[in-house]
Symmetry: C2
Subunit: 477 residues, 2 copies
C-alpha cells in the first residue's frame, strides 16, 4: 500500500505544479514583513491565510498568542503561533514541521526587477518574489503534501504537526516560551522534528544539514575621561580609550582568522576520518565563495578547508565600535568611552561558559599589560550554543533515502556557519532529533533583492517532503 | 604725553566698567550662532551691531562678502568680514586685531543655569552668557579701548585695524581667501597682528601664547568583500577588513602615547635650556588637568612633562571607524569596507609632507605584513601646519610689559596643543608677527554650558589691550 501511495502522490505532485504555484503566489501577495510595524496587519493576515488553508484540508488548527512586542517604546501585538495537526493515529509516528510565515522587508526601489510581492516566473523558471524561498515555499510545501493526500483520498503515513511562526525575521519573539510550555502538551507525542528553513550548499545538489555553529557576543568597554576630549588640547597627556581598545582588540584574532585567545582550540573536537570523508565530493566550488562575497579574499585555498572553517572550526569577527566617531569626514575627538564589539562562532565541544571565561581572562590580561589608567569592562552580552545532530540518526537516514528517490543522488551532508536558534530550542525542549531539510538553493537570495525559488526546487521539494514522511514512517525513531 | 595718556585711559577703563559690561550685554543678547542656519540672520545682525558701534566711534568701516556656504545642499549666505580702521597716521605703527562675532550653539535645555543669551553677573562676579569669553568679550575689548580714547579726546598710539569674522565656530569659511586677497591692500601697512581668542593656561595668571600644534589627519580604508557579510556564514573563511584595520592601527601609537611611526621623533626640535626654563613656575597644576578631563588618567606625573606633551611634542589620536557597526546592541556583521581615522598633532620642525610620507609608508608596510587579500588605501585628508612665534619678538616684549603694568606679574609664556588656523593664515599672508593675547581664563567653558568671563578678566583685559597698544607703539617692529 505505502509504495503505491508514494508513486501516486509523486505523480499527483508532478501533475499539479500550477496549483501549488498558485498557492505560493497567493502567499507571496501578502506582504507579511515582521520587521515593519506598518505591515503588522499583513503578518496577521498571512497567519489567517495559513489557518484557512490548513482547515480546508481537514487539519485541526489552534493558535497561541505570544503577547506583545516592545517596538522602540510602542506596544505591538505579536502574530500568532499557528499549531496544526493532521492525523492522530497512535500507531503512527508523529513528525513536527516548523516554518515561518513572515518575510524580510522588500521594496521595488531596493532594486527588484519586479514587484517583490507579486510572484512571477522568469525565463529560467525561477519563481521570483519575497518569501518564495524564505520561508513561504517550504511552509506551503508541507501543506501541498497534505492536499495531495486529501485529493487522492489517502491518509498521511505519519501524524503531521505544524508549528508556524510569524516573527522569525525579527528574532522569533515569543516563540521559545511557547515551544517550552507546549513541550509536554501540544508537542507531547512528537517523535522527530523537521525544519525546512535553510538552503542547499550550492545550486545543484540537495543536502541534509546536521550542524550549526553557536555564537558568543562580547563587548569590550574602555572608559577614561568623563567626557569626549579635544585631541589638540589633550592628545599626548592622557590615556586615550581608543588607543587601548585598538591595542587590546588587535590581540583577538590573526589576519589569517586564527583566534588568539588561549585555550579556545583545545576545546574544538578533533576531526575524525569519518567526518573528513563527509567533505569529499561536496557540491561546492571556491568560485561560489568568490561570487557570494564579490571578491577573491578567501583565507583557505581549497573547498575542504574553507567549508571546515565555516562549519566546524570557531571564528572570531570584530563588528564595530560604539561611542567613537563613525560619520564620513574628519573629527578630532578623543572619545571618552568606547565599546568594541566582537563575537566568536562556536563549535563542538566548546562550552559557551568556558569560552567566556577564557575570553574575559585574556582580554583583562592584555589590558593589564598596557599599563593604562583607563577602565576596562568586558562582558558577554549573549551566547547561543552550537548544534550538532548525527547524520546517522534514522530520521536523517530516512531523509537521505527520500533524496535518493526524488533526486537520484545521495544528499550532501552539510553544516552551517550561522545559527538557527529554533533548532536548538526544539532539541532542548522536546529532546527529539531535529532534521534540517532545505528546499531552496544556495543562491536564492533569501534576504536580498529578487529572492527566488526555482520551480524545480519547489516541486521536487514537495516531493521530497512527501517521500520523507513515507521513509520516516518506516524507521525506528 | 604717552605716559599720562596711559594713566588717564586706565583710570577711564576702571571707572566705566558698567558701560563696557552694558555693551557686552547687548552683544550677548544677539544669538549669533553660525552653526545653526535658523540663526544666520542673527549673525548678520551681530555684524551690523559691530559696524554701527565702530562707526559711532569714528572708525572707517568696510565689509567683505565671503559669498555663500553649502549647508547640506542648501545655499546659505555667509556673514560679512568686518574691516575697520581707526587712525591713519603714516608715522604710527599699524596693529591688526582679529576676533570673531559668531558663537557656539547654546540652549537653556543643555543645562545652562540662566538664559545663555542674557548676560548676567553671578555672585562670583562672573559675566555668564554665550560668547562672553569666546569671543565677544575680547572683540568689544578693542572697541572699548577705542571708545576710551575718543571720550578722553586722545588719539590712539597706533593705527588700529580690525578684522572680524562671523564663521569662526563653523570653519571660518571664506576668511582665508579674503586675508590673502587683502594682504597687500587693506592689510598692506599692518606691522603686527594681535589675536585675542584663546585663554589663560589656568585661572590666576595672564599669559602670552606663542605656539600652536599643527594637525595632519589620516584615513586608513580597508576593503574586502563587495558587501557586508554575515559573520556566521563567512567568519573564518575570508579576510575581514576589521581584523586588518585593528591589526594595522594598533601599530600607530603605544598606550603611553608614544607614536610608533618610525622617523617622527627625529623631526622634533630638541628642547633647549632656554625653552626648558619657560616651563618653570607656570601657573598650572595637575589637578587642573584632572578637573578638565574628569578623571586621573594623566600619562605624565608632573606638570612640566604634561605641558611639554601638550605643546611641543607630537601626539597621535585614533578618532573612530567609519563603515563598521556603531549603534548600541549587537549585530553580527562583517563590514565590507571600513575607514579608520586618526590624526597626528605636529610640532616644529615636523613638515606635514614628510610626516605624511612616513605615515603612508609605515601603514602600507604594516598592512603588507598581515598577508591579507584585502585592499588598503591610506591617505592624508588634510593637514595644517604648526605655528611658533618667538616670545622675544618686540610685539611679545611689548605685550609682556603691558601685562606687568596691568597685572603686576610677568606673563606665562604658553603654547597650545590645538590649532587656531587663522594665526597661520595671517602670518603666511602678511609675513608679520602674530601675538596671541588671551583675555579669559582656562576655565571659561568657551564651548560648554554656562560660558563666562570674569568681570576682572574683562576689565583688566581691556586695560591690557589698551596698554599693549602703547607699549607696541614704542618698539621697533
Amino acid at each position: 500500500m505505502s509504495e503505491s501511495h508514494i508513486t501516486e502522490t509523486l505523480d499527483y505532485i508532478e501533475n499539479h505544479q500550477e496549483d501549488f504555484i498558485a498557492r505560493l503566489r497567493k502567499a507571496v501577495a501578502i506582504p507579511s514583513v515582521s520587521g515593519d510595524p506598518t505591515r503588522r496587519q499583513d503578518v496577521f493576515r498571512m497567519a489567517e491565510f495559513l489557518v484557512e488553508e490548513l482547515k480546508a484540508l481537514g487539519a485541526s488548527v489552534e493558535t497561541r498568542d505570544p503577547g506583545v512586542q516592545d517596538f522602540h517604546g510602542t506596544e505591538l501585538k505579536l502574530p500568532p503561533i499557528v499549531l496544526a495537526t493532521v492525523g492522530n493515529d497512535p500507531a503512527k509516528k508523529t513528525i513536527l514541521v516548523y516554518g515561518h510565515y513572515d518575510v524580510q522587508p522588500a521594496l521595488i526601489e531596493d532594486g527588484w526587477a519586479t514587484d517583490p510581492f507579486e510572484l512571477v516566473e522568469d525565463e529560467k523558471n525561477r519563481l521570483v518574489g519575497r518569501g518564495s524561498s524564505d520561508d513561504k515555499g517550504p511552509v506551503l510545501g508541507w501543506i501541498n503534501v497534505v492536499e495531495t493526500h486529501k485529493k487522492l483520498g489517502h491518509e498521511l503515513p505519519v501524524n503531521l504537526k505544524f508549528c508556524l511562526e510569524g516573527m522569525e525575521e525579527s528574532g522569533s519573539e515569543g516563540l521559545d516560551a511557547i515551544i517550552y510550555s507546549e513541550a509536554d502538551k501540544y508537542f507531547k507525542d512528537v517523535d522527530a522534528v523537521c525544519i525546512s528553513d535553510n538552503y542547499w550548499l550550492g545550486t545543484t545538489k540537495p543536502c541534509l544539514t546536521y550542524g550549526l555553529r553557536g555564537v558568543s557576543y562580547y563587548h569590550v568597554a574602555i572608559s577614561g575621561p568623563a567626557r569626549d576630549l579635544h585631541s589638540g588640547v589633550f592628545g599626548g597627556t592622557v590615556h586615550e580609550p581608543m588607543t587601548d581598545l585598538f591595542a587590546v582588540m588587535s590581540k583577538l584574532v590573526a589576519p589569517n582568522g586564527r583566534i588568539l585567545v588561549p585555550g579556545i582550540y583545545e576545546q574544538v573536537r578533533p576531526i575524525t576520518t569519518a567526518e573528513e570523508e563527509t567533505y569529499d565530493n561536496l557540491a561546492f566550488e571556491l568560485q561560489e565563495l568568490h561570487d557570494a562575497v564579490g571578491n577573491q579574499i578567501n583565507i583557505h585555498d581549497d573547498v575542504r578547508r574553507t567549508l571546515q572553517h565555516r562549519w566546524r572550526h570557531p571564528s572570531l569577527s570584530i563588528h564595530g565600535v560604539e561611542g567613537a566617531f563613525y560619520s564620513p569626514g574628519d573629527k578630532t575627538v578623543v572619545p571618552a568611552r568606547v565599546v568594541g564589539k566582537f563575537s566568536i562562532r562556536t563549535v563542538p565541544d566548546m562550552e559557551p561558559k568556558k569560552v567566556t571565561e577564557l575570553v574575559l581572562k585574556y582580554v583583562k590580561e592584555e589590558f593589564e599589560k598596557l599599563g593604562s589608567k583607563n577602565t576596562l569592562n568586558v562582558h558577554c552580552t549573549h551566547d547561543g550554543n552550537h548544534w550538532l545532530a548525527s547524520p546517522d540518526h534514522p530520521s536523517y537516514v530516512a531523509a537521505a533515502k527520500a533524496v535518493e528517490r526524488v533526486f537520484n543522488v545521495k544528499p550532501d551532508l552539510t553544516r552551517e556557519g550561522g545559527s538557527i536558534p529554533v533548532t536548538l530550542s526544539f532539541q532542548d525542549a522536546l529532546k527529539k532529533n531535529v532534521l534540517l531539510l532545505p528546499m531552496g538553493r544556495g543562491d536564492d537570495g533569501a534576504h536580498s533583492i529578487n529572492e527566488k525559488l526555482d520551480r524545480s526546487n519547489y516541486i521536487s521539494g514537495i516531493k521530497l517532503m512527501n517521500t520523507y514522511l513515507y521513509e520516516v514512517s518506516k524507521v525506528e525513531l
